[in-house]
């Protein structure tokens, strides 16, 4: 139910809407719940709304943690 996926913002038709791309599938989503989203950002998408911005540096850090343990 809380299923959400990281998607890339490819365009911003207006301040409260983003066009996103997920492996070639494009869809318009709402930015009503998240300020300051820019084209090129990855956001967490849930039921048509961006809920959080994905931090690429933190993602790299987490991946590095896995590698340390392994």
């Amino acid at each position: 139910m809380c299923l959400a996926i990281p998607v890339r913002v490819v365009a911003k038709p207006n301040e409260s809407t983003a066009l996103i791309d997920l492996d070639g599938v494009q869809k318009e989503i709402s930015l009503e719940l998240l300020d300051g989203v820019e084209v090129g950002d990855y956001v967490i998408l849930h039921v048509g709304y961006a809920l959080a911005r994905l931090d690429p540096d933190e993602a790299e850090r987490t991946l590095a943690l896995f590698a340390v343990a392994a």
């Binding site: 139910m1 809380c2 959400a4 890339r8 719940l33 998240l34 709304y49 987490t62 392994a70």
Partner: protein, 379 residues
Amino acid sequence: MKYIDEFRNGALAKGLAHAIAYEADTARSYNFMEFCGGHTHAISRYGIADLLPANLKMIHGPGCPVCVLPIGRIDLAIRLALEHQVILCTYGDCLRIPASNGLSLLKAKARGGDVRMIYSAADALQLARAHPERDVVFFAIGFETTTPPTAVVLRDAAREGVKNFSVVCNHVLTPSAIMNILESPHVRTLGTVPIDGFVGPAHVSTVIGSRPYEFFAEEYRKPVVIAGFEPLDVMQAILMLVRQVNDGRAEVENEFTRAVTREGNLKAQALVSEVFELRRTFEWRGLGEVPYSALKIRRKFGAHDAETRFGLAYTSVADNKACECGAILRGVKEPRDCKIFGTVCTPESPVGSCMVSSEGACAAYYSYGRFRDVAVRAA
């Protein structure tokens, strides 16, 4: 896909499995509850349970909104569709939940009810705009992840004066449910459900942040590690929990730093508190009545509250007697302990709610794990 595939890497999973087995103390046992259905699904789907040492057990928690929704609430939705003849919109997960009199929303649709599956809360409001002559009701369920979108459409409906749009609010709160489990006799006094720590929600926490869990770590001395929903995230979180237990620490740690901050999404939180207020009590399947564990629509938006608008009165309905969903949701029993699991109750024809959603403990176990305990015999 970026930010998904890297977090499913098999070689790294093997390494993490080794690290967990190496660091887990063989002289003791570890019992961790993953609160979320999303984690339950990941653990089953990717076979994580098979990668863990024998003395480390994952207990499935009640964090699946479909599974904890009591029959009486679905009855309300069915009544709206069949008696009040509204256009009843809801997320796909809700359609097959078994309700009273052998009905479900899907069967109500077969009987002529106008039941529509939607992808987004915004689709429900759009339907109302497109059908001004009909009453359109959005049957909203979900934890803190799904609540903010419902708040957006309620605010927009009020702003635009979409008079034919209303919502049945079933939104529930994660911290209240965790508190209820920690206070339950199984955990507190009987010790039949030993919990050494929690894998904390991924997407719920993007909204509420990591701060609300600090209370559990301090007050109940239970470690919490917030984790993403990908398999490597779950394994890393388990490793972090093992380390906390070994060190005698009880802290809130965040494995899902790429999307979760301590404060969470303040804009979403503000909107939710503008539109909703706490319900004094709400019935959960498995947990019973839990005080201050759910939200209702504020009076300011009362014109869009379907419960007052249609005079809906909630009646509690007992679960099917053979169904063990209640005990499974509290972590007291496992799916295979249920007599009707996999025989009478299957994902195609579910008796209990834990078999309906793919995140439910029973459905996850049925789809990915039901042959795990069957001995293989060569012919």
